[in-house]
């Protein structure tokens, strides 16, 4: 099963789409590629799309919160979108809903950063 990540640059916004299962095992690989992707020049903020995430546990919360904090420390923002009900429940339980901004879908999340898709 595992986890795959697609990174895409939308103007100055890094868009990351997760596919598969995010647990302790896949979180460590994700952290590495994610940090690398964020180092690309010209990236201001990011959108994390969790639509195709079929499984997540608290290790997923940890790696997402970790990147959120790194971005925030640099004055950058991360928006998370397209949560499945199971993933939504974990964010509710953890209280991350009060910290991170969530949007319903990718298009709208990008629009909040001024990226308008044709």
């Amino acid at each position: 099963m595992g986890l795959t990540v697609d990174y895409e640059l939308k103007e100055t916004i890094l868009l990351a789409r997760l596919n598969g299962e995010l647990d302790h095992h896949t979180a460590s690989e994700l952290k590495e590629s994610w940090q690398l992707a964020l180092q690309q020049p010209g990236i201001k903020h990011m959108v994390l799309n969790l639509e195709s995430l079929s499984f997540m546990d608290s290790s997923g919360l940890g790696v997402i919160l970790g990147r959120y904090k790194e971005l925030k420390a640099e004055g950058r923002e991360m928006v998370v979108c397209s949560l499945t009900p199971a993933v939504d429940r974990l964010f509710q339980l953890s209280g991350l809903f009060k910290i991170i901004r969530f949007e319903e879908n990718e298009r709208y999340a990008l629009e909040t950063f001024g990226v308008v898709l044709s």
């Binding site: 099963m1 595992g2 299962e21 647990d23 302790h24 095992h25 979180a27 460590s28 952290k31 499984f55 546990d57 608290s58 290790s59 919360l61 940890g62 790696v63 919160l65 970790g66 009900p85 199971a86 974990l90 339980l93 953890s94």
Partner: protein, 147 residues
């Protein structure tokens, strides 16, 4: 009462987290749980196994984790055991957001998730001997009540 049981053990490697939760979910499927209940079972197995690997065994991949799963009528009992370092203060470890390893980006939500997704969670731990997490859950609650 119809009781059905299984037991399996595996190396304390993170790649086995997915194996453990899928195996338990497959066994538990006999009780005809809802998709939500199955997700809950997979998540708590993942949480307990991850705890054993990271905390119990300090990420030593050559130790063993044992899972015993018992189905009785509509109830599942899960026992997840390691023979690792143990937890010095179980009450503290079970507090939401508490983590002994913040540098590893642990969210501190593992036990909170287990307690929310299962009916009962009991942790027995002895320093230097290991930790056993026992969890129970009754399935099809709404179905049972409507009968």
């Amino acid at each position: 009462m119809n009781t059905n049981m299984m037991r399996f053990a595996f190396s304390s490697q993170s790649r086995n987290e997915a194996f453990a939760r899928v195996t338990v979910a497959s066994f538990v499927s006999q009780l005809d749980p809802t998709m939500d209940e199955l997700t809950e079972i997979k998540t708590v197995v993942s949480e307990a196994v991850t705890n054993s690997i990271i905390h119990g065994y300090n990420s030593d991949p050559d130790q063993m984790i044992t899972i015993i799963c018992t189905l009785s009528d509509d109830e599942v009992e899960l026992i997840i055991q390691d023979e690792g370092v143990g937890i010095p203060d179980v009450d503290e470890a079970m507090e939401p957001l508490y983590t002994s390893k913040p540098d590893l980006e642990r969210s501190g939500m593992g036990f909170t998730i287990m307690e929310n997704f299962m009916d009962h969670v009991y942790v027995h731990s002895t320093e230097g001997e290991g930790t056993t997490v026992t969890m129970n859950k009754q399935f099809n609650r709404s179905k049972a009540m409507s009968q």
